[in-house]
């Protein structure tokens, strides 16, 4: 009996040991399912899915621009060519100048033209889907950001081409006696912060997240490196400057110029170009030819919608000493900045540091997926410190995400020197999807500081640059290429060094009815910037007095409002400015429902595409029968010129940037992390208790054997 016990015990133990050895070997050898089984599954044969290999429709863009003084009208034609054998729906996502007033849509199918109607966004989507399903040709133009739109075109027959034309306007500001037109042509791939929301279908390259719920709409697919560049663009511009022009030039593209007298010119691209960077055109007035004031209007019923521009005296001529300053540089070192952008940014900061006076102080903060500072404290701008700062900047590498909100939050949370004017200079390409969160943060926490944005690279996000600067009560600058860095930074610094014109007030004369004008209040102006106001003036308004303060000194001027130059389209621009101002009130805590109602009312009245309205054109003639299939394609966009594809990135190749060290106790980092949602805090525990359990079990079994063995000895 006893023997049996022990034998049984040994037997079981042996089995247990054998089993555990067996299991160990099984787990070491990987899963038990032989891989051949999977290959024979028959599910994954290439080409299994019919329609998956159909070529995407081709796209050609033609842009015709007419410039009349500060008012620019664009006609942009997208021609979609279906080269496949199936019916196709095409979706193209593209940028427009920020705050363009998009007011017309025309779809051309063969000889038929269908004019689009302005419709509430959700209704337009429903009607579009219904028309698409019914086999009707339809196109829908939607706004996703004030500078980011999409055109959907349903039911393009095999071999067919359909043209969708949109019309839009914008106003330019006369700065330094010249105009600068910027027509963006490509949406750079943007960083999408936040946690993906479950249950959504992916149609962009990024799924929606809690912080960017429309991520799939602003991340159109990208052409792969092998596909090369595509989406050719042709462009021509007629300029009627309203003054004698000096040089006309494009820092971005090769152009041909035909001058028609002193004030007029026709410009066109020398050849079709790929849509991979912003088109920029600059024209300047001859010395003394620039007008100091402009007055353009459009009459609708008894209202005169007017654009009023006025250049105040250049502040530098006023001998006001600049206050002591603390300059905080925030530089974007994310992956999208890799390539020419980060080099330009480094150059820009280097020059900016050189321009600081010893009495100024400075800080440098860099951010990508994380946020870090050059020094915890602001340093005075001594030559030695400037050298240290330059060394820090030159060592920066561009890699990782773009946690711009975390970076701004970090800077805003730092103590600011009360005796100094804090000027924050944000240097970025703005390639993020959560712009509104940044604007809200800046609006809430800017206090007495001022924010200046510097847009870097070939396709910066103009919406982010202009609105962030507006929320931070500063101004914006763009740097297109390395040659421009010194000129543009010098100009920015002239603005930083001179007092701004503040408390700008407009007093209208001649009529008791109020004049509604935007922006209202007029934003602070920096060195050389004109006042530019869009106003709806009732009949009888005959003058305006503009006043403001420059460095504590009062400045004012009165203008008689007669003899306006007639320009169609100003009413739409006025309405667009109104919508922009309404959107800004959201940050002041206005009721979003009420704001939406107001925007909707304005947009519908003036035929404008907005965040709540879209343009929709439906051809009532049925084109496709129910039996025929339709395949949807998102048209791939180019990779922006000068950017480095992530797969070619130096940092990706060594995997280094993926690992981040953190010190949980660093308070500034904690703040930064709050915004940095796309980081994993704590990796999952990934070991089973299996081996431990087996060890403990065996231990217990041996202990049991020991006890039983002892008993045997006693007997």
């Amino acid at each position: 009996m006893r023997r049996n016990h022990i034998n049984l015990f040994l037997f079981l133990n042996a089995i247990a040991l054998l089993l555990s050895l067996l299991v160990t070997s099984v787990t070491m050898a990987g899963p038990a399912v032989p891989s051949q089984m999977m290959d024979k599954g028959g599910l994954f044969l290439p080409g299994d899915e019919a329609g998956m290999v159909e070529p995407a429709p081709l796209l050609h863009t033609d842009i015709k621009v007419s410039v009349s003084g500060p008012i620019v009208r664009y006609r942009m034609r997208h021609t979609f060519i279906n080269s496949s054998n199936t019916w196709t729906e095409a979706i193209y996502t593209y940028p427009l100048p920020t705050d363009s007033a998009v007011d017309t849509l025309e779809m051309t199918v063969g000889k038929r033209k269908i004019i689009g109607r302005i419709t509430e966004k959700i209704k337009a989507q429903r009607q579009f889907v219904a028309a698409k399903k019914a086999g009707k040709r339809a196109s829908l133009v939607q706004q996703h950001r004030p500078n980011l739109f999409s055109t959907s075109l349903a039911n393009i027959a095999p071999g067919e081409h359909i043209t969708v034309e949109i019309g839009f306007s914008e106003t330019l500001r006369l700065v330094d006696d010249g105009f600068r037109l910027r027509m963006p042509l490509v949406v750079g791939p943007r960083y999408i912060p936040g946690q993906p929301i479950a249950g959504f279908k992916m149609s962009g390259w990024h799924t929606p997240t809690d912080l960017v719920p429309d991520a799939e709409l602003i991340t159109p697919p990208l052409r792969s490196e092998g596909e090369g560049v595509g989406n050719p663009v042709t462009l021509s511009i007629d300029i009627d400057a309203g003054f004698d022009m000096d040089a006309i030039e494009s820092p971005s593209h090769k152009i041909s110029i035909v001058r028609n007298g002193d004030a007029k010119a026709s410009i066109s691209l020398v050849e079709a170009v790929p849509a991979d960077k912003d088109f920029i055109l600059v024209w300047r007035a001859k010395v003394g030819a620039a007008p100091s004031a402009g007055f353009f209007s459009e009459r609708i019923e008894d209202m005169r919608y007017s654009l009023l521009t006025l250049t105040p005296p250049i502040q530098q001529k006023l001998n006001t000493p600049a206050p002591p300053r603390e300059v905080v540089f925030i530089v974007d070192t994310s992956g999208s900045m890799e390539g020419t952008s980060i080099e330009q940014a480094k150059l820009a900061i280097g020059m900016a540091l050189e321009r600081l006076r010893p009495s100024d102080t400075f800080r440098i903060v860099r951010f990508s997926s994380d946020v870090s500072s050059f020094q915890m404290q602001a340093l005075s701008a001594t030559p030695a410190n400037i050298n240290l700062g330059k060394q820090f900047v030159s060592s920066l590498l561009a890699e990782g995400g773009t946690e711009i909100v975390a970076a701004m939050g970090h800077v805003m949370s730092q103590r600011r020197d009360k005796n100094r004017l804090t000027q924050i200079v944000l240097i970025t390409d703005g390639a993020v999807g959560n712009e509104d969160a940044l604007f809200a943060l800046i609006h809430d926490q800017i206090r007495s500081s001022r924010l200046f944005t510097v847009g870097i690279g070939s396709a910066p996000n103009g919406y982010l640059m202009t609105r962030a600067a507006a929320a931070g009560r500063g101004t914006y600058t763009f740097i297109e290429d390395a040659d421009e860095v010194s000129r543009q930074m010098a100009k920015l610094f002239e603005k930083l060094e001179r007092p701004a014109m503040t408390n700008i007030l407009l007093e209208w004369q001649g009529n008791s009815a109020p004049v509604l004008y935007w922006p209202n209040p007029v934003t602070d102006l920096y060195n050389g910037e004109p006042i530019s106001v869009l106003a709806a003036m009732p009949d009888g308004t005959n003058g305006v007095t503009v006043s403001g303060q420059i460095g504590g000194k009062l400045w004012s001027t009165s203008i008689a409002l007669g003899g306006a130059q007639d320009r169609p389209g100003i009413a739409a621009l006025w309405a667009r400015q109104k919508i922009k101002s309404l959107e800004a009130t959201l940050f002041h805590g206005d009721d979003p429902k009420l704001v939406k109602e107001k925007i909707l009312e304005t947009a519908l009245k003036f035929n404008l595409v907005s965040r709540y309205t879209s343009l929709l054109a439906i051809d009532e003639k049925k084109a496709r029968t129910e039996s025929e299939k339709q395949v949807a394609h998102k048209i791939a966009t180019n990779f922006p010129d000068g950017w480095v594809r992530p797969e070619n990135s130096r940092s990706i190749k060594n995997g280094q940037h993926l690992i981040k060290s953190f010190d949980r106790e660093d308070p500034s980092l904690k703040i930064a992390m709050r915004g940095a949602a796309s980081q994993l805090y704590g990796l999952p525990q990934t070991a089973t208790v299996g081996p431990l359990s087996v060890i403990l079990g065996l231990f217990a079994l041996f202990a049991s054997w020991f006890i039983w063995g002892r008993r045997e000895e006693q007997l």
Partner: protein
């Protein structure tokens, strides 16, 4: 005295068997689950909807990961938590889904499904198949050991890539250790 000793002995014997049995059950379950998952996967309709591997499953297969060089083929489950990891590698919520654009993080136990990471080398090909048959290829570019108490993975959606995470060291008996082994593979 002998009686109590006998009771202790029997108790220890029982406890020993329970522990050993449980310890063996875990890898056995891990292997069996993959067989069931494999069946569910193969039987899946081609519409891309993930089937349930067993009626009471509270996770679902979302992709298949293959490493040809190591003869590995495993079904990845949704979520990397206690309800998925015993059965297969789990996709970490909040990162891109495997095989889709962006950065995807997959975790599994070092002593079952991801024990093969010990033998993975830079340059090895990793492929991810989605229901419906679409397949994405990746290549291993980096392996490293992290201390989960002070380091983490930065999720970088600008690149299509996989991070395969498991506990480290591989043959440690302690399941609660702080070290992690991270294998990075980028889309090719």
């Amino acid at each position: 005295m002998t009686r109590s000793r006998e009771i202790t002995g029997i108790a220890l014997l029982a406890v020993g068997f329970v522990f050993v049995g449980y310890g063996l059950f875990i890898p056995a379950k891990a292997v069996l689950a993959q067989v069931l998952l494999e069946r569910a996967w193969i039987a899946a309709p081609k519409d891309g909807k993930a089937p349930k591997p067993w009626p009471w499953a509270d996770t679902k297969p979302i992709a298949r990961i293959k490493v040809g060089d190591l003869d590995v083929s495993e079904i990845i489950l949704a979520g990397a938590h206690g309800r998925s990891l015993p059965f297969g590698p789990g996709h970490v919520d909040g990162t891109s889904e495997p095989g889709r654009p962006g950065h995807s993080v997959i975790a599994a136990h070092r002593d079952t499904h991801f024990s093969f990471l010990e033998n993975i080398k830079i340059g090895m090909a990793v492929s991810v198949e989605l229901p419906g048959g679409k397949s994405s290829s990746y290549v291993v570019v980096d392996m490293r050991v992290l201390d989960a108490r002070s380091e983490t993975i930065v999720i970088d959606h600008t690149t299509n890539m996989l991070s395969l995470v498991t506990c480290y060291p591989f043959n440690d008996w302690n399941p609660g250790g702080p070290m992690r082994y991270v294998v990075t593979a980028v889309s090719v």
